[in-house]
Amino acid sequence: MKHTISVLVENHFGVLAHVAGLFSARGFNIDSLAVGETEDPTVSRMTIIAQGDDRTIEQITKQLNKLIDVIKVQDLTEEEKISRELVLIKAQTGAQNRSEVLQIVNTFRAKVVDVNPHSITVEVTGNEEKIDAILELLRPFGIKEVVRTGTIALSRKSELNLKGPKEAPEAKVEKPEKKITGKKK
């Protein structure tokens, strides 16, 4: 199953390598990882999409929590959340099929950001399903290049911020057999 894990980390040198190293050293698979500064410039937020059964994801969150530079970890998988990804798609087009492509672009409220005689570059934002759908529709025209940012996500309800303890082992230990979900305050 795919999990969305949100991680607050110290915004300094080497932290990304530490997190990525943890995944490779322990044989965890990452689908995507997006990182950037937060409202607090000393803190970055990573959104990690990872595959694994509940046990694996539990280990991932625990191991992430163990890193000194990780401030907080939240599994957003079962939370109500907003997730978005931005994609640039360069599709093959000529004069004869450009309008068909534009139609698809409009339906998805995507944006054309570049056009030339042989191709058109489209910018799409959305959740994974939307992105997969537009890619599917554009594929018959011939896709020359795709670049994706990886998913970023925020919970609708709770905020993951610097307040409160890093992790709540209490919450964990009360329901030991359940996997750790978001740490609610």
Binding site: Q59, K66, P169, V173, P176
Partner: protein, 557 residues
């Protein structure tokens, strides 16, 4: 007053009350060594940086305080990697300071540059590259704090030469505040309550104790808890010494080379209380068949240890000492007479044993005698292999921090330098290194260190002319095809080698010579090497072969 980075480093080490620094200099760490020269801090010059890292580790395990090593960049740093990995696997507090090329040339393949931070990332609890001299004091403070709190571990500080020359005002921070690092100490009250209930209900309980109990300084609390409830105690190799092995409640060590009765007890138990242990595969045997009837309570400071390999019913995250105290207050003597009678029967039926006949020196005999002559109270370090397992079986440890061995990584060559570090940390105690001929030859260069600084460690080399444990596996599982496991023809006379370095060297070939030689070693106030020529093809039993349940035990006829 403004100080240079090098001065700040040394002052900070003094603030941390560091007693000894193990290391070896080189280009980029010279400014720091220059300050060290007349700092009054004790410096131990090793002959290979791996030795420095194991000495710092041995010092830390013997004392509970972080061990410190200091080496140069590039090859100096890479030589400590085995030591860091060894300490990381066994949760040993250590601070390793490595020189680094100047910040201005990092990344340019400068002379003796290595990406130390990258290389050591997965074998340290945390590591730092010091980029600005104004961060240095805080980093050193944090490094010692991180190394020695929570689940302890090695921390590395990579220290570029230009930062060691730059100047800033020196103020050593009084407190540490790291927002991403706040270890939980007290266990959750509800979980403790639940555990106490489970304990009071148990009919066939067993305590399974690991290195976490020793790291937490909780041997006394464990003993009190076990005696109050009457629950028998088995330990892992790293847990040896947390409970006196001569106590009637002791089941000795469990696992691959554990006693029959420890393993049967675990398999038959209805409640397993894991205390600072992590269900290593050398302990559990085949995971799916481990303790099949037991509910499990797991006390551990590291949440990631919980339910990692074996799902547990009642986890308690926190410091073993705190939690055992809280539990002791909530329990009473259990009525488990039938269970203890069953265990007694197993003990009688399947004691540890060896063939005592003949003139040949057997390792079990030597270790048994070392135990007797030292009243089971020496500090003992080991290499890795058969001699290590026999030491675990035959010494009968009484005290915490007396068995010092590489359990998790299984690092041959660990024992001798670790003994030097342990002796420096606990100078009043007798320190033995029980080593294999293979293991000893990986770090024997430190004989020079022991002799130069007059560190009176007693090294007993069990020369079975083989990588004995490898040979044992080849005998049992590879049709006696001894591929790469024979050492005999090339082994030197270790007693003469020791003499060449200036240590006392004694060669022992017959059983009757063992005790006199040990007595002589105990009287000697310098380093001693006893070359024991021992039985060549003895096997360590009992043995639970890999992939089997703990009660599927092989033993000698």
């Amino acid at each position: 007053m403004e100080l240079t980075g090098a001065q700040i480093m040394v002052e900070s080490l003094k603030q941390e009350k560091v007693e000894a620094i193990f290391g070896l200099p080189g280009g980029v760490i010279l400014p720091t060594f220059d300050v060290l020269y007349d700092s009054g801090l004790r410096f131990i010059l090793v002959r290979h940086e791996q030795g420095a890292s194991h000495m710092a580790d041995g010092y830390a395990r013997a004392t509970g305080r972080p061990g410190v090593c200091m080496v140069t960049s590039g090859p100096g740093a890479t030589n400590t990697v085995t030591g860091l990995a060894t300490a990381y696997m066994d949760s040993v507090p250590m601070v390793c300071i490595t020189g680094q090329v100047a910040t201005t040339v990092i990344g340019s393949d400068a002379f003796q540059e290595a990406d130390t931070i990258g290389i050591t990332r997965s074998v340290t609890k945390h590591n730092y590259l010091v980029k600005e001299v104004r961060d240095l004091a805080r980093i050193v403070k944090e490094a010692f704090y991180i190394a020695s709190t929570g689940r302890p571990g090695p921390v590395l500080i990579d220290f570029p030469v230009d930062v060691s020359r730059a100047k800033t005002e020196f103020v050593y921070p009084k407190e540490v505040s790291i927002r991403g690092y706040k270890p939980t100490l007290a266990g959750h009250p509800k979980q403790i309550e639940k555990a106490a209930e489970m304990i009071l209900e148990a009919k066939r309980p067993v305590l399974y104790v690991g290195g976490g109990c020793i790291a937490s300084g909780a041997a006394a609390e464990l003993t009190e808890f076990a005696r109050k409830t009457g629950i028998p105690v088995t330990t892992t190799v790293l847990g040896l010494g947390s409970f006196p092995e001569t106590d009637p409640l002791s089941l000795r060590m469990l696992g691959m080379h554990g006693t029959h009765y420890a393993n049967y007890s675990v398999q038959g138990s209805d409640l397993l209380i894991a205390v600072g242990a992590r269900f290593d595969d050398r302990v559990t045997g085949k995971v799916s068949l481990f303790a099949p009837k037991a509910r499990i309570i797991h006390i551990d400071i590291d949440p990631s240890s919980i339910s990692k390999t074996i799902p547990v019913h009642c986890p308690i995250v926190g410091d073993v000492k705190h939690i055992l105290r809280a539990l002791t207050g909530r329990v009473k003597k259990l009525e488990i007479g039938e269970w203890t009678a069953q265990i007694e029967e197993w003990k009688k039926k399947h004691p540890l044993k060896y063939d005592p006949s003949g003139d040949v020196v057997r390792q079990q005999y030597v270790i048994d005698k070392i135990g007797e002559l030292t009243n089971h109270e020496a500090v003992v370090t080991t290499g890795v292999g058969q001699h290590q397992m026999w030491t675990a079986q035959w010494y009968r440890f009484q005290n915490p921090r007396s068995m010092i061995t590489s359990g998790g990584l299984g690092t041959m060559g660990y024992g001798f330098p670790a003994a030097i570090g342990a002796k420096i940390g606990r100078p009043k105690e007798t320190v033995f290194c029980i080593d294999g001929d293979g293991s000893f030859q990986m770090t024997l260069t430190e004989l020079a260190t022991a002799v130069y600084y007059k560190i009176p460690v007693k090294v007993v080399i069990m020369d079975n002319a083989h990588h004995g444990m490898v040979r044992q596996w080849q005998e049992l599982f590879y049709n006696r095809r001894y591929s790469g496991s024979e050492l005999g023809p090339s082994n030197p006379d270790f007693s003469k080698l020791a003499q060449a370095y200036g240590a006392l060297g004694i060669r022992v070939e017959k059983k009757a010579e063992v005790v006199p030689a040990l007595e002589k070693a105990l009287q000697c106030d310098g380093p001693v090497v006893l070359h024991m020529v021992v039985a060549k093809e003895d096997n360590v039993y009992p043995m639970v072969p890999t992939g089997h349940a703990l009660d599927q035990v092989m033993d000698m006829a």
